[in-house]
Every structure is written in structure tokens, then in C-alpha cells.
Amino acid sequence: MDLEETLLPGVGVRYRLRTSAGEVLGIVVRREGAAELAVYDRRDPDRARSVLRLEPDEVDAVAEVLGAPRLTQRFADLSREVPGLESGRFPIGAGSRFAGRPLGDTRARTLTGCSIVAIVRDAEVVPSPGPADTLLAGDVLVAIGSVRGLEQLEARLAESA
């Protein structure tokens, strides 16, 4: 993947991404938070066409849609590169005794050796959550650890209240 970042003085930053299909995607992120998406003209590859303008709140919405699965994907990639290290996604069921309790109460690190690296809540992601972050029913925990540790964690999170 080829992502090029260019400073646009007084405006913001422009990214150009060449996709594996050979298309070039242009993204201009303005300082004020708005963004523009563009693809480039085939006859004149310097020229952007079909410019799509996003207001800051729309940028946030798009980022969340694209960002949440990507984050967990990245952890999966990460664990693939380290032998013996696995990652897993564990939903907190409505009946789990940890629903509504702080993350620290799971004592996941102490008991299973696993690290909780993110909490996925609907489209939102809490990266590197702390022990005080409250877990809610429906949350999905992203954790990395050994195969055995992850099994223990899964069993522990499923314990009913």
C-alpha cells in the first residue's frame, strides 16, 4: 500500500492512497476538521475530480464506520506476526457478572495473563482502556495473550452474576 502525505500550508494535509486496484484516492483533511475526498482524472492524473465534501461531524461518522473494524484487524495482524501470541474478541453478555462493572474487576491480566487492548462499543472504540473504564452489556473486548490465557478469559467473562 502506498500512502503519501503532503502538507498543504494554510489548509491542512493531503493524503494520496494508491489502491491495489490501481485507483488513486485523494483525501484533504482541513485544519478545521472538514475533509474532501477525490479521485483523480485518468487523462490528467494531477487533477482531482468528483470531489466529495464532508463537514467535521460527517468526517467523524465516516472515520468511525471505517475505523472500528480496522483497529481490531490491526491487532489480528499484530498477533499473527508474533508466534504464540493470539488475539480474540469477547462479547460481554447481558448476563455476565462484569456488565456494569469496571474493567479492573475482571483482573484479566493477573488471572489469565491477557491484555485487554480495546473495548468496542457499537461503532465506537476505546483504545487502551484503563481499569476504571466501565464495561457495558454488549461491549466487545479485544484482547491479546496466549491461546490458553484467552480460553480462560473467555470463560471468566462468561461467568454469570
Binding site: 502538507l7 494554510g10 474532501e36 494531477d46 482531482a48 470531489v51
Partner: protein
């Protein structure tokens, strides 16, 4: 009618008129600067609405307008952006200076201006309007284009060069010889370097000093500090505008964003008053006789700006159509040409007033039109267009 009533009515009519003029400019997709100038020319002596009572206020507000324009300019770019532009496009900046300032200087000498006046005219033809150009690129949907970083870099470098050029000009206009002018420039280089260094090392302290959750507090502190520094710079024989620019430059990026938002409306109001004051001080009858010279100069410096943009875009490996877009985008001259001419007129080169007025009128309109023509497919609109 009593004095206060007269003053308020005049100013009310003036600002209402400016809003109509601005609306018209926006409809036509052009900058409001040339329209404001024309309106002010028409208002001058013997005009439709004589501005006799409000003239002292307009003159004072115009001074503040210049200061706020330059403060906003300093806030516009961060030190990092300046250094990055200098690294990538230093040569483009030099080409820009040589190609565009020299014709202005030569024209000034040919038109029998004193050399200080010719120097001011060099500045007028040199500096593109970053306000007009940046807005134009956004409106035409060209921000993602590959030639755009080159265009913006040229603008940044011009703005930085202004901080060095203005003190030089002010010293020259005040009758100093080449030695004093050189010393003045040396001082300016030092001050700019110091401001940039301060921004990088100590900027956060200045930011903390000014920062407040309250917009009113922020505005009062920012304007207070800027006017103090500007006044100090003016009393030291440098230009108030340069002082304001340095304040803007020294403020940290994190603070600049909020400062721009808070300052924006105030800047717009006072800057408009500045353009009105400049138009008022120019005799419309004096513009017509210099029109042939103005048109010729505009034609030549349109060509040289296109060449500048062409050169800068080629350095980034952009193809021919993009180079043409970059060149034509830079043609527009505007607010800073008027700032430079304003300094010269105040310092006793009144001939420059009609010249600069005519020149900016022509290029602030012709520039945007020309760059739309250079990209016929993009001119139709910026919404999502099927390929």
C-alpha cells in the same frame, strides 16, 4: 442633524452598502476587494454619499484594519509550514521575486516615480493575494490536485517575504539611504528569525499567557498585545503591520486555530474599512489616464505569474495542464498590494494610489476568471460531477 446621528447614519449606509457589494461579488464567484474599491472610488469627493463626518473614524479604523490583516496572515501559517515550504520551494520563491517584482520596479522608473515609489510598485506586482487564491482553490475543488502544494508554498513564501520587504520599504519611503534601508532589513530578518524561534521554543508560553476559555478575554488579550507590539514597531520606525505579523507568527499552532476563529469577524470588518479608506483617498479621475500603463503592466505580470506557477508545479513533477492551473491561480493580486500601496501613498508617493487601484481592480477580477478558463472541465462546478 447632530454629529452622532450623522456619523452613525453614514457608517450604517457604508456597511450596508459593503454587504450588498460583497453579495454581488460572491454571486459572480469573485473576490469582494475590487468591488469594495470601486464602491469607495464612487463614494470619494463629490460622490453619491459624502462620508464627511465619518472620515476620521474610517482613517483610524483603516490603520487597525492593516494591523489585523497582517496579524491574521501571521496566524495563518505555522513555523513548520514556513520551513517546509522553504525547503521544498525555496527556488520557486526566488523565481517568483525575480519574475514579478522586477517588472513592477522597471515600470515604476519608466513612469517617473521616485525609486522608493518604484520599489513599492515592485511589491504591488510581486505579491499574489493569498486570500483570493486560497479561497479560489477551495471553491474550484482543487485542494486535492497535485499542483496545489506548489501554489500554496509560493503563497507562504511571499507572505514570509512581506515581513522582510515591508520594513525595507518603510525605511526607504522615510527617506533613508541604501545603508539605513539595509540596516532596517537586517533588523527585520533578525526579528522574523527571533519570532520563528520563539514560536518553536517558547510559543506555548505566549499561548498560555493569552489563552482563556472565554472568547471575550481571548479577543481582548490578543488585540491588546498586537496593538501594543504594532505601536511599538511603528514608533521604532518599522511598520506597525510588521509588528502585528510577527505576533501572529510567534503564536503556537494550537492557539492560532482558536485565535483565527475569534478574530475573523473583527478582521473582516476593519479590513473592509481599510479598503474603503484606500479607495476614498484615490481620485477616480486619476485612474483613467494611467489605465493604459496599468493594463500593460497587468498583462506582463500575468505572464510572469503564470511562468512562476509553471516553474513551481514542474518542480513537483506536475504535468502541463496542472502547471497552467498553478500559474493562472497565482495571477490574482489583492489585499497586500493595497497594503503596500497604502504605505507608499501615506509616505508621500500619491501617484502610486491610482496605479495600484487600477492594477488590483484588473487582476483581482482577471486572475480568478483566467484560472477558471485554464480548467474548462473543472469550471462547471465542484459538486460531484460524473466523469
Amino acid at each position: 442633524m447632530d454629529h452622532v446621528a450623522q456619523l452613525l447614519l453614514e457608517l450604517g449606509l457604508l456597511f450596508a452598502g459593503l454587504s450588498l457589494v460583497g453579495l454581488l461579488a460572491r454571486r459572480l464567484g469573485l473576490s469582494s476587494v475590487p468591488f469594495v474599491l470601486v464602491a469607495a472610488l464612487a463614494l470619494g469627493e463629490g460622490g453619491v454619499v459624502p462620508l464627511a463626518t465619518s472620515e476620521p473614524f474610517i482613517e483610524a479604523a483603516a490603520e487597525i484594519g492593516v494591523v489585523l490583516l497582517l496579524l491574521a496572515l501571521g496566524l495563518e501559517f505555522s513555523a513548520d509550514e514556513l520551513f517546509a515550504s522553504l525547503r521544498h520551494h525555496g527556488p520557486s520563491g526566488v523565481v517568483d521575486l525575480l519574475l514579478n517584482a522586477l517588472p513592477g520596479f522597471a515600470a515604476g522608473l519608466l513612469l517617473d516615480l521616485p525609486w522608493q515609489g518604484a520599489l513599492a510598485l515592485a511589491g504591488v506586482t510581486w505579491i499574489s493575494s493569498s486570500g483570493i487564491v486560497a479561497r479560489l482553490l477551495g471553491d474550484l475543488g482543487r485542494l486535492a490536485n497535485r499542483e496545489t502544494p506548489a501554489v500554496l508554498s509560493v503563497l507562504v513564501l511571499e507572505d514570509l517575504a512581506m515581513a522582510l520587504f515591508l520594513p525595507l520599504l518603510v525605511v526607504a519611503l522615510s527617506g533613508g539611504g541604501p545603508a539605513t534601508a539595509l540596516a532596517g532589513t537586517g533588523l527585520a530578518v533578525g526579528a522574523v528569525a527571533l519570532a520563528l524561534l520563539a514560536a518553536q521554543r517558547q510559543g506555548h508560553r505566549l499561548g498560555r499567557l493569552l489563552a482563556s476559555a472565554d472568547d471575550e478575554q481571548l479577543l481582548l488579550r490578543l488585540v491588546g498585545l498586537t496593538l501594543l507590539v504594532a505601536g511599538l514597531a511603528q514608533s521604532l520606525g518599522a511598520s506597525a503591520a510588521v509588528g502585528a505579523f510577527l505576533v501572529g507568527l510567534a503564536l503556537p499552532t494550537s492557539f492560532a486555530e482558536r485565535a483565527r476563529t475569534v478574530l475573523g469577524p473583527l478582521r473582516d470588518l476593519f479590513a473592509a474599512t481599510f479598503f474603503v479608506a484606500f479607495g476614498l483617498s484615490t481620485d477616480p479621475g486619476a485612474v483613467l489616464p494611467v489605465l493604459p500603463a496599468v493594463l500593460l503592466l497587468a498583462l506582463v505580470t500575468t505572464g510572469t505569474k503564470v511562468a512562476t506557477g509553471w516553474f513551481a508545479a514542474r518542480r513537483d513533477g506536475v504535468g502541463r495542464p496542472g502547471r497552467l492551473r498553478a500559474g493562472t491561480a497565482l495571477v490574482a493580486r489583492g489585499e497586500f498590494s493595497i497594503v503596500i500601496a497604502g504605505l507608499a501613498v501615506t509616505a508621500g508617493v500619491p501617484q502610486l494610489g491610482p496605479l495600484a487601484t487600477g492594477y488590483v481592480l484588473v487582476l483581482a477580477v482577471a486572475g480568478p476568471v483566467l484560472t477558471r478558463l485554464a480548467d474548462p472541465r473543472g469550471a462547471r462546478g465542484t459538486a460531484v460531477t460524473p466523469a
